[in-house]
């Protein structure tokens, strides 16, 4: 099989590409839309928005989620906000500036055309959400308020207290609920995609789903399949992702021919609560917006690390971000803030009972603004912190440490958001998207909603229009039969092992390996070690896994086992990708490639490309085939990122 990467980026001036392209895309006449069935998997911001919009347009939409309700998607947990180039503050923001900040924040590893389109539609998103009733924060005059986020010097982030993701998702969910009520969208809840089905021409024609309540497998045919299934952050086991977030949909698509791009690009979020013991099941994020008012420090002297924060005098504290990056201070981009925290802890300057954190201190802000103002801004985050740690952040500084948060890598898509499998689209965090090697805060919500509301619907029409009159592949066709049989075999195989260790055991072990060798900083020796240990762990998993219960009822261990089996393969590809990328860029930091000041050192000459891997067989490090999509910069000149 030879895979072709054609990004289909239209010609013309950067700022006209999308408008012109939309005009050139074919349309589907309103009366013909219901003749097309589109399968949307996922009801997060991307999937919820896409399903609702396609339903409004009149397509026949089948929408799947493993949750009991579309409203529970992982997007619900986003706290801080959503960016848009509205320039309501008059502080110099513009579509071009948002475009530029995103390209630069991504360390010049994203496509110019996609990012510009994202910045263009960002303003429509805010309009749409306000009309839906999203209760964004407002000023006393009744107009929308903004806050600032890392990696930007303007205030362009819209927010709904510390629950922005929740409110945006409820907006999309409610729009979807309206379509479900009207019958354009049919909801399949508690149904997990377990495989993607291709027709004999290699085009996506449907999915196999497993009913999580009865275990029943079912076949669903569509003219197109959209994966809006989120990221693969749970490859680390401990992350800020929801527990059920998983990579099965993306990985199954990959195994069927969809290229997987830049799997080594993962974002480690700087402000999470450090783990407290080995039973920890997930890590909790404290919104980055806290860095607007909190100051990050560690004691200068390791001997002071065991003291109470209040016992460390001002001149014995090192506000290291303010010291090293005076222009951006505590608001440097995430990768930089995270790596610096790691450096401090590695130097023995970590604080807290396990010496595994740095302080985020609000005492100065409380002195300056008063506790009430701080409570107004972050009250619910402070409450959450106290519930988890038993400490009161109004009185003692928060303890924070970086944790895995977001995956910039994902399914490779062209300008239409179509993967390398015709008819199979990927949107939201599931695609390799617009963030290059590092995503700016408040830009994932923007991208998910941009893809779902404004980009996919027109490109989907362009895909479907020439297919008018094509009938769906019958679900009794051999391609569906074979796919279902394969899934059944996978399930039987896992249940038949009857070994000694639980699924969580393997997931934890995998997470440790990936975190230690392919986390915040990577080097060749560590990556090679991981490449020998991951396949060994995988082999053990198939020899010694223990899944009790049957496949014919609710079986959460079986659900997890299917997901962990897939993410183990993905982990290997991720490490393989990290090893091949002999440079540092954004969230991918190779110890071997740093400047004298310890900053990421890119190698534009050799690595200015998207690394898209083609599935070649189950010996992943040997069989995966790398394809390169060169990145071309016409509007911005790549520079060494500087936030000093």
């Amino acid at each position: 099989m030879s895979l072709q990467l054609d990004s289909r980026i239209p010609g013309g001036a950067l700022s006209d590409k999308w408008e012109n392209y939309k005009f050139d895309l074919k349309l589907v006449n309103p009366n013909n839309r219901r003749k097309f069935t589109v399968i949307v998997v996922g009801t997060g911001l991307a999937g919820g928005a896409a399903a609702a919009t396609l339903g409004e347009l009149g397509y026949n939409v089948k929408v799947f989620t493993y949750h009991d309700s579309p409203r529970r998607a992982h997007s619900i947990a986003a706290q801080g906000g959503i960016n848009a180039a509205k320039n309501y503050r008059g502080d110099g923001d513009s579509i071009h500036r948002l475009f530029y900040d995103t390209i630069k924040g991504g360390d010049f590893r994203a496509r110019e055309a996609n990012v510009h389109r994202l910045a263009e539609v960002s303003t429509n998103i805010i309009d749409q959400c306000v009309a839906q009733g999203v209760p964004f924060g407002r000023e006393y005059g009744g107009l929308l308020d903004n806050r600032s986020f890392g990696g930007a010097q303007v205030s362009r982030t819209f927010y709904a207290r510390g629950q922005t993701g929740q409110q945006l998702l409820l907006g999309a969910y409610q729009s979807l609920a309206r379509q479900i009520h009207l019958g354009t969208c049919e909801l399949f809840n508690k149904m997990e995609l377990v495989d993607v089905v291709l027709n004999n021409d290699g085009q996506a024609c449907g999915i196999i789903a497993r009913d999580l309540l009865t275990g029943e497998l079912s076949r669903h045919a569509g003219h197109a399949v959209v994966l809006a299934t989120g990221g693969y952050g749970n490859v680390y086991f401990l992350s800020t992702n929801a527990k059920n977030s998983n990579a099965t949909a993306a990985w199954r698509a990959h195994r069927k021919g969809a290229a997987f791009a830049n799997p080594c690009y993962t974002q480690i979020h700087p402000t999470c609560i450090p783990p407290s013991d080995e039973f920890q099941s997930k890590l909790v994020l404290m919104s980055e917006s806290l860095r607007n008012d909190g100051r990050i420090w560690v004691p200068r002297n390791a001997d002071d690390c065991g003291l109470d924060a209040s016992a460390v005098p001002e001149d014995a504290r090192d506000y290291y971000l303010e010291r090293k990056y005076p222009a951006f201070g505590n608001l440097v981009p995430r990768d930089i803030a995270s790596r610096n925290a790691k450096t401090m802890v590695d130097q023995g300057l970590g604080i807290g009972p396990l010496r595994n954190g740095v302080y985020l201190d609000f005492s100065h802000a409380i002195e300056r603004l008063g506790a009430d103002v701080i409570k107004g801004r972050y009250g619910n985050l402070f409450d959450m912190y106290e519930r988890i740690t038993g400490e009161d952040p109004y009185k003692v500084p928060m303890r924070i440490y970086p944790a895995t948060h977001y995956t910039m890598g994902g399914l490779w898509v062209d300008y239409n958001l179509q993967t390398t499998v015709p008819g199979l689209f990927a949107i939201g965090e599931a695609n390799f998207s617009d963030h290059g090697a590092n995503r700016l805060g408040a830009s994932a919500l923007m991208q998910g909603l941009a893809d779902g509301y404004f980009v996919l619907p027109p490109t989907m029409a362009g895909f479907l229009a020439p297919r008018l009159g094509e009938s769906l592949v019958s679900t009794s066709d051999p391609v569906f039969e074979q796919a279902e049989r394969d899934v059944r075999d996978r399930i039987d195989q896992l249940l038949a092992v009857k070994g000694t260790h639980s699924v969580d055991h393997y997931h934890r072990e995998l997470g440790k390996l990936v975190w230690d060798y392919c986390g915040m900083a990577r080097n060749a020796a560590g990556l090679e070690k991981a490449l020998s240990e991951i396949p060994a762990l995988r082999a053990e998993f198939y020899k010694d896994l223990k899944v009790l219960g049957s496949a014919e009822s609710v079986n959460q261990s079986l659900e997890k086992a299917l997901r962990v089996a897939d993410v183990m393969e993905l982990a290997e590809l991720k490490v393989r990708d990290a090893l091949h990328r002999e440079e540092s860029c954004g969230g991918h930091f190779r110890d071997e490639h740093q400047t004298d000041e310890g900053e990421a050192k890119r190698d534009d000459e050799n690595f200015m490309y998207v690394g898209a891997w083609e599935w070649g067989g189950s010996d992943i490090q040997r069989d995966a085939v790398l394809h390169k999509e060169p990145l071309v910069y016409e509007a911005v000149k790549p520079t060494q990122r500087s936030y000093k």
């Binding site: 309700s69 992982h74 749409q128 107009l143 609710v554």
Partner: protein, 261 residues
């Protein structure tokens, strides 16, 4: 911040399927850290059960941050347990003492049939939203976001209501299994905003009547507010009742023409 280990006796509701009879099983634990969350405690118990060839306890959860609304069990008879304004996943074991017995049951309500063990089916909540819990605005049809100023107080009150996570604790806590707090929170969120006015009356009528199909009736116990992990106020129920009455009145005058859609 010190980590203490707790010895606990758990009495957990086990039920194999929707139509099976359920029973309490008793499990002892000896090494639960008080820094652990309630769900981490259950994870730990489950690891033990699996090691002993007993099928793990089925319970729903996802974000473990108190925002997705997936989790939720009765803990010693209280929905989401003893800590105010706290979902089950955010409850930490430092709320308990060594030697405690903890009784863990699923939500109990006719509208929420048990699926297995501690997992219930809450689809009725989605049906209520589908019947009118939205503002009709198709993608692309929206005017500039700042064209309609929204008084800050209205936006804040709408947000107070919109904070609902749809966990169903209000229904589980109510002696009548009423859905009033959930329904009124969604209505208040939308009915308080200028953008929600056009459909205010049709929305109120449709959602209240759908709610009545699935849930019991409200007799003002106030248990819902106590149990709500987001501390949503029962004042919204009063607002819903007013809006519903007005909606019926408005509709009658128009010959019952207005329907949601």
């Amino acid at each position: 911040m010190s980590t203490n280990m707790l010895n606990l006796t758990l009495k957990v509701w086990r039920q194999d399927g929707p139509n099976s009879a359920g029973r309490f099983e008793t499990y002892q634990t000896t090494t639960i850290a008080d820094d652990a969350s309630f769900l981490e405690m259950l994870d730990y118990v489950n690891e033990d059960l699996v090691a002993g060839d007993v099928e793990p306890i089925t319970f729903d959860h996802d974000c473990r941050e108190g925002i997705c609304g997936t989790c939720g069990v009765m803990i010693n008879g209280q929905a989401h347990g003893p800590q105010r304004g706290t979902a089950t996943c955010q409850l930490h074991m430092r709320q308990f003492r060594s030697g405690d017995t903890i009784v863990i049951e699923p939500w109990r309500a006719a509208a929420f049939p048990i699926i297995r063990d501690l997992m219930v089916n809450r689809a009725a909540l989605d049906r209520v939203v589908e019947s009118g819990g939205y503002i009709t605005v198709s993608t692309g049809a929206a005017p500039d976001a700042n064209i309609t100023p929204v008084p800050r107080d209205a936006a804040e009150a709408a947000m107070d209501a919109a904070a609902c996570i749809g966990c169903g604790a209000c229904v589980a806590a109510c002696p009548n299994s009423a859905g009033q707090l959930f329904t009124s929170a969604k209505l208040a969120h939308l009915n308080l905003l200028p953008q929600g006015q056009a459909e205010r009356w049709s929305r109120s009528e449709a959602m209240v009547e759908t709610m009545e199909q699935y849930f019991g009736s409200c007799t003002n116990h106030g248990e819902c507010q106590e149990a709500c992990p987001k501390e949503i106020s029962i004042d919204f129920i009063a607002m819903m009742n007013r809006d519903y009455l007005k909606a019926k009145f408005t509709n009658r005058r128009r010959g019952g023409q207005r329907k949601s859609g």
